[in-house]
Subunit: 196 residues, 2 copies
Amino acid sequence: MSDTGSLEALVQALRRLPGVGLKSAQRMAFHLLQHDRPGAQVLARALGQAIDRVGHCERCHTFTEEPVCAICRDERRDATRLCVLETPADQAALERTGAFNGLYFVLMGRLSPLDGVGPGDIGMRPLLDRACDGVVQEVILATSFTAEGEATAHALTEALRRRGVRVTRLARGVPVGSELEYVDLGTIAHALADRR
Amino acid sequence: MSDTGSLEALVQALRRLPGVGLKSAQRMAFHLLQHDRPGAQVLARALGQAIDRVGHCERCHTFTEEPVCAICRDERRDATRLCVLETPADQAALERTGAFNGLYFVLMGRLSPLDGVGPGDIGMRPLLDRACDGVVQEVILATSFTAEGEATAHALTEALRRRGVRVTRLARGVPVGSELEYVDLGTIAHALADRR
């Protein structure tokens, strides 16, 4: 309909969100316009503000509103250990455990040749420079245990070892709280091989 | 983290969308900031524009940027038949069939006492006035065939019949292209009772 151009434009804009198809976008637009116009305003402002303010940390590449993020600025953290992750969400998950006191390098993605994501896109070069800066003594690879995450970890391991950097990988094994019966076979096999 | 307030605000704003939880909101925010900043800008603008411009048609209550929507303004349509629907999406679906040439009344919701949606919220009063304006000869109820949609249709039928208005309901039956074996029993029972 010609007199609902703004509605159409909103539906099309919502469809650009990952995991949102036509039906979901229509449902979202209807909800915002019919039941939550303040929410739509909040979202519009939040988008504008995030675009303006959020950039990448010069040191670890994670999202931050400062040139260098709070974790990288924290002098109490152990700069000899560098943990490599795929996304800020993964970083937040690891931070919440409270089990790691080192610094991070966030790839902001993972190697994925089919999607055209190569070593340059995940900051391979800056990571190698950082790992060889004389301060870092161990690089802990915490990329996902998916095909692409494993491939990324493999490529990084090769490149780092060639430069004589000590590389470790998060342990694979049975998740805490799970019954063996319900754990997939690949995980059990890894847990057996890596038993301690 | 204190230096990612704008990112946090964006994630919280995205969570207000229907069907979007914390993980989805984080994924959306990451996608927009890392891979599609133009998309974020387009969405922010589309939201602002839709809030400013999209209102409700005075006659049928659907979304429109004019006081009266294009369909209600169209003189070639048959004003003696009025089809009652729940949402503009339902209306768009019916329009796409090309099988209906009458006018619409969009409830912008359905009766749902548990959610606090009563007759006033779906425009029961304006609908009754419209149905009794002397032009409308038949009201076709096309609310959903769900519990709430049926309850809405029932309440509207009662009120309209008391005023002597002719009320019909979309036929229930076996969907086109389906094999009987895979159709639910309630639908088959209705199709049998309403056979023609």
